[in-house]
């Protein structure tokens, strides 16, 4: 009785994943072809496989293609990071943003280039990941110091740390304006004018973060229960937490390095993923990666039209959606 049941669940999940993958590919194709100017798929094919230096080909390859590749990478990373943050804090309204990780990564990038003169993309990606890691540790340390990791307070602490980070960033930027002009590009939260090199640089970080996350699938399942239960099931809780911190920092640090702060993706996506894939982290994180990729790609397309002909930062689009979802979650007492 249970065997066919399991198989049918697995089959239906495979169908879900296949459907999401198809949707992702469609979204990416839309992202390349739809915008201020429309292009056909044949033009895309020509531009990629028979690049002739024409204006159309240049726009497609240098402007459209990078963002169609960056957006899903960032979205997938933030989606998985969101699941990790929510499990780690046992808090369904936590996300890399509400823990201040985006702000921490942005601050690290600004500090590093202002004081250490780091400008290479790899260097800044590393610095962003480091900033995210330190921020996550700071937030959890303060929460633990306050007498336990209470779900709601951890968000308040994270949001405050985020505000602090933003203020320091603002301080450095205004007192150092000329030097910082090129950094504003990190802080906008957008995929416009991002070189393909960013995607190549970000890939190892995203891959490493995802690898750690997926290696922790089963301990994470157990960590959904309280600590005492998890320990009594034999989960090395501290070790898993450290791994989680590392993965979250790599994923959200890389996302900031690639696009700047794209708000609330890590908040919204895990909820959608849970509806499709349930609570177990293997399917859940796979679904979160795909949904995050689709969501961010489509948000990036939408950002081209909300104040047409000007482009809005994709971060503004995801912030509006995310804020509304947060209200719904709070009203539904998901947290």
């Amino acid at each position: 009785m249970t065997v066919p049941r399991a198989r049918s669940a697995r089959q239906s999940f495979a169908v879900t994943i296949a459907g999401l993958s198809a949707l992702l590919i469609t979204a990416m194709l839309v992202s390349v072809t739809v915008g201020y100017r429309l292009y056909g798929l044949d033009q895309l094919y020509h531009a990629v496989f028979a690049f002739d230096g024409s204006e159309t080909a240049t726009v497609l390859v240098n402007l459209r293609l990078p963002r169609a590749i960056l957006a899903p990478m960032v979205g997938a990373g933030l989606g998985v990071a969101g699941v990790l943050v929510q499990t780690l804090s046992r808090n369904r309204i936590a996300s890399p943003d509400t823990l201040g990780l985006n702000a921490g990564a942005s601050l690290a990038v600004v500090l590093a280039s202002a004081t250490l003169g780091i400008t290479s993309l790899t260097g800044l990606s590393l610095v962003a990941a480091l900033g995210a890691l330190l921020t996550s540790m700071l937030v959890f340390a303060i929460a633990a110091g306050a007498g336990g990791i209470s779900p709601i307070r951890i968000v308040l602490i994270g949001v405050t740390i985020a505000g602090l980070g933003q203020s320091v960033v603002q301080l450095i930027l205004t007192s150092n304006e000329a030097q910082m002009q090129n950094l504003l590009f990190w802080l906008a939260g957008s995929f416009v004018d991002r070189p393909m090199a960013l995607a190549i640089n970000g890939l190892p970080f995203i891959a490493a973060g995802a690898a750690i996350a997926f290696a922790l699938v089963r301990p994470l399942d157990a960590l959904q229960a309280d600590d005492a239960t998890a320990v009594s099931l034999g989960v090395p809780v501290s070790l898993v937490r450290i791994g989680c911190f590392l993965a979250i920092s790599l994923l959200s640090g890389a996302a900031v390095a690639m696009a700047g702060p794209v708000s609330f993706v890590g908040l919204v996506v895990p909820h959608a993923a849970r509806r499709l894939a349930g609570q177990r982290h293997g399917p859940l994180m796979l679904a979160a990666a795909l949904i995050g990729a689709i969501y961010t790609t489509l948000a990036d397309v939408l950002a081209r039209f909300v104040i047409y002909p000007v482009e809005a930062p994709v971060g503004a689009v995801t912030a509006v959606v995310g804020g509304l979802v947060l209200v719904l979650l709070l009203r539904g007492r998901a947290a």
Binding site: R90, R92, P219, D226, A228, S232, G234, V235, R280
Partner: protein
């Protein structure tokens, strides 16, 4: 389960302290195999701490907990989790988690990176759900269940762990009278049918006396007395351990000692 005279767990002069406070002071105690041992005592006597120390959730300052001839301190996390299951006080899991998803967690210590879910796991999962009567609830989210049902699901999770020792920390807290009986009857049934050694922390002295094979009274971080409920439920001892003047009668239905508290002393 052949009769084995060796105790399931022996606790040897265990001392445990939080910063600035000694919680357990050289506690020595044997937990008999295949029996139900109930730890009871006034608030702050260290009964929950002792239970958690047995499961190595706290590290002792000195002394040790032995499973036959292996020290609990020497086992890996997963190996220990295959010997002792623990139902924590007020355990928590996400409200949208389903019953089956929670019970599956009990199989965690039996799996490794390479060895995934197998038929043995499925069998244990089904047996645990059937044994606790939650099979029909398997796809329900925890948030939709009653308090008593949730407690059964948690017991199912511990059962799925298939450990010879099961520790339960105040499992009937916040349950109404019917569910208290229901839950403890279930525990006794598991003890009788599966031969599990059970260690329970209970607040209610009369429930403790009714379900315990061995009753342990604790006070001020030490064992005040242990033995059968008939031995321990005396006016004198209850006055000494709980500071309560009580009348001890025999309950007419089950023949167990029943404590009728009169006043504090």
């Amino acid at each position: 389960m052949t009769a084995n005279p060796a105790p399931s767990i022996s606790i040897d002069s265990l001392t445990l302290a939080y910063p600035g406070k000694t919680v357990l002071d050289t506690v020595s105690l044997d937990i008999p195999r295949g029996k139900i041992t109930v730890l009871a005592g006034p608030n702050g006597c260290g009964k929950s701490t002792l239970l958690r120390a047995i499961r190595r959730l706290h590290r002792p300052v000195s002394g040790r907990v032995m499973l036959e001839d292996i020290g609990v301190a020497d086992l890996s996390e997963k190996a220990l989790a295959r010997h002792i299951g623990l139902l924590a006080q007020n355990p928590s899991a996400p409200e949208d988690m389903t019953v089956e998803e929670l019970v599956r967690l009990g199989r965690y210590p039996h799996q490794t990176m390479l060895q995934r879910w197998d038929s043995q796991d499925t069998r244990a999962l089904e047996a645990a759900m059937a044994g606790t009567g939650v099979t029909s609830l398997r796809d329900r989210p925890l948030g939709s269940l009653s308090g008593g049902q949730v407690q059964r699901v948690w017991i199912a999770m511990v059962l799925a762990q298939e450990t010879e020792i099961v520790c339960l920390d105040e499992p009937v807290n916040h349950l109404d009278l019917a569910h208290q009986l229901d839950c403890l009857d279930l525990v006794r049934q598991l003890n009788a049918e599966f031969g599990r050694t059970v260690v329970l922390v209970l607040h209610d002295l009369n429930l403790a006396a009714r379900y315990a094979d061995q009753l342990v009274f604790m006070r001020d971080g030490g064992v005040a007395a242990y033995g059968t409920p008939d031995d321990l439920m005396t006016q004198d001892l209850i006055a000494r351990v709980f500071n309560v003047d009580a009348m001890i009668i025999t309950d007419p239905a089950y023949g167990r000692p029943l404590c009728l508290p009169l006043r504090t002393c």
